[in-house]
């Protein structure tokens, strides 16, 4: 697998030197082809500043890691990007379109789909229904299409395709034996898998995964990562929040480190690993 090394060292250098004031060169990292660009994002909850002037960009077709201590603001950043929260300030550009302040469904339909840190399955729907829901632009989502006599043919056709696709994905994630079970009866790990599988069903351009592997059995984890790489080869982009350093270091070509709401550093795994501040703030004595 080829790992692109897209980091631009001079800029990183400057950031490392001046980590406290990243804002000066917020979108400094010149990325050849950024699919997602976040600049100067701000979000606060009452007195707590959760995201404080965060800027970064994600290269098209990359697997980018987003790491940082607990409470650094990673999930909040996700929420601001995907329209769950409205940021107080800053902008988000996806694929050349300014999507700041868009509704979640608009963001998703633009091709940017996320998963949740704590899986949000549809509990009283079966696993298969969960899967069938996900794909975008289903004909049958228009009331008249589903109901009008004569208009339903295309819907049925599409449903069949989606069903086959759903089964395939479920088989891959090894939860096909649960396909007809209510999602609420799944174990913790199985729910995360479902969440991920469902996000994949939407056929997005870019996937934002919030700790997808927390609680997933290591053997399966490897398998999923293989799949992520394969998808990456097909042109998908991934932004992954993870605490598993081995995973990040081994599988991401680019890593962004958040700390106290801002971007502390970014660069290739190797560069990040050797940053004193990152080690102190996040990695502890591990490396």
């Amino acid at each position: 697998m080829s790992r692109m090394s897209s980091a631009d060292s001079p800029d990183l250098e400057s950031q490392r030197d001046d980590a406290e004031s990243v804002d000066e060169d917020a979108s400094a990292r010149s990325v050849d082809d950024a699919v997602l660009e976040v600049s100067n994002l701000h979000k606060r909850f009452g007195g707590i500043v959760a995201v404080d002037d965060t800027s970064f960009s994600v290269e098209r077709g990359s697997i980018t890691g987003l790491i940082g201590p607990n409470g650094a603001g990673k999930s909040t950043t996700f929420n601001c990007i995907t329209g769950v929260y409205e940021p107080e300030d800053g902008s988000v550009t996806f694929d050349g379109t300014d999507i700041t302040g868009w509704e979640p469904h608009q963001v998703a339909n633009q091709g940017l789909v996320r998963t949740f840190q704590i899986a949000r399955e549809f509990p009283e729907m079966t696993v298969l229904e969960n899967m069938m829901l996900a794909p975008k632009d289903q004909l049958g989502e228009h009331l008249w299409r589903s109901v009008l006599p004569g208009a339903r043919g295309g819907v049925v056709e599409q449903e069949r395709e989606l069903r086959d696709q759903a089964w395939e994905t479920l088989e891959f994630f090894e939860i096909d034996h649960l396909a007809e079970e209510y999602a609420m009866n799944l174990s913790g790990g199985q729910r995360k898998l479902l969440d991920l599988a469902r996000a994949l069903q939407t056929d997005p351009e870019m996937l934002m995964l919030d700790e997808p592997m927390a609680g997933v059995n290591p053997t399966l984890e490897e398998k999923i990562l293989d799949r992520i790489h394969a998808l990456r080869e097909d042109g998908y982009t991934f932004l992954i929040v993870e605490h598993d350093m081995d995973l990040i270091m081994e599988h991401c070509e680019h890593v962004i480190v958040m700390h106290q709401g801002g971007v502390l550093d970014e660069g290739t795994p190797e560069v990040i690993q050797s940053n004193e501040q990152v080690i102190e703030a996040y990695l502890g004595g591990e490396v």
């Binding site: 999930s75 929420n79 769950v84 929260y85 949740f116 840190q117 704590i118």
Partner: protein
């Protein structure tokens, strides 16, 4: 104000037992009848047959409220005993119902319990109807005025206020308050932390039902007449107050009740009296829509 008392009770059972209790209105009615039966028995001893007194003037004619002299100044003891009995009877009834009905469905969802509570409401109300008949009758004697209020209105406000302050202190000073909140928050976890959930539930019923019963009793004191539909007719307003104020909060229930009461009265200035309630409901809708809590609440992610 009496809505507030009833609303506090409902709000507690709503948040801790996690279901909208539609029988709350009929607990109010239970308290009203139970309490006034006792008040009549004490106040009217010897004036009429025990049966007539206990059934609170079930038949037309017979002894009149004026004869029994049921008015705070004339027979404070009867009124007081009636109030205590109102609370006690309602608590007993509520606990019995909990044992027989709700306890068997603790692990079912709020909706099942809600439906069951509708069943309880009907059974309870018409059980009262069989005993007390469904006639509406006057029960209190006319009360003298104290300043701009009647003595009964004043009694109601003072007692309601005292009870709410008392409850506030109880919940503040004891573990009970916290364990109730914990249960409302996450029942499974409450179990794991060792909270004796059944005992908390019992305590909740005791408080909720006592408040309901006493409020029923006081409403009758204020209005002067009682019928089996007393609580049921109030239930919608009480629910509105509870939801408006925020489920589970004593002060919320208080504020919600006041808002509801005030809208009805204030709108009289501009509108014909039969549209006053309409304006109350419209205002309520507007508050709900524009109250930021209602708009932002509910989004939760981690």
């Amino acid at each position: 104000m009496y809505i507030a008392l009833a609303a506090v009770g409902l709000s507690m059972t709503y948040s801790i037992l996690q279901f909208a209790n539609f029988s709350h209105g009929d607990l109010i009615t239970t308290g009203a009848f139970g309490g006034w039966a006792a008040a009549y028995l004490v106040g009217g001893w010897g004036l009429a047959s025990v049966g007539e007194l206990v059934l609170v003037r079930a038949t037309s004619g017979g002894v009149s409220p004026g004869q029994v002299g049921l008015q705070v100044f004339a027979s404070p003891l009867a009124i007081l005993i009636g109030m205590v009995v109102a609370g006690a009877v309602t608590v007993l009834v509520a606990l019995a119902i909990d044992r027989l009905v709700y306890k068997r469905m603790r692990d079912q969802g709020g909706i099942s319990m809600l439906i069951a509570s509708v069943g309880v409401a009907l059974a309870l109300r018409y059980f009262l109807a069989v005993i007390f008949t469904n006639r509406k009758r006057g029960v209190t004697a006319t009360a003298p005025d104290v300043g701009p209020f009647t003595a009964h209105e004043l009694t109601l406000v003072i007692i309601a206020f005292a009870l709410i302050v008392g409850l506030h202190l109880l919940l503040q000073r004891t573990k009970l308050g916290k364990s109730m909140r914990a249960m409302a928050d996450n029942k499974d976890l409450a179990l794991i932390t060792g909270i004796p959930t059944e005992r908390v539930i019992t305590a909740t019923w005791i408080i909720g039902a006592a408040f309901a019963g006493i409020s029923g009793y006081l409403i009758v004191l204020d209005r002067g007449s009682v019928s089996i539909n007393l609580g049921w007719f109030l239930l919608l307003l009480i629910f509105a107050a509870v939801i408006l104020g925020g489920i589970g909060s004593i002060y919320g229930a208080l504020v919600g009740s006041l808002i509801i009461g005030m809208t009805v009265n204030v709108s009289l200035i501009w509108l014909p009296s039969d549209l006053a309630k309409v304006s109350a409901f419209i205002l309520m809708i507007l508050i709900l829509v524009f109250k930021p809590n209602g708009l932002l609440g509910g989004v939760e992610t981690t």
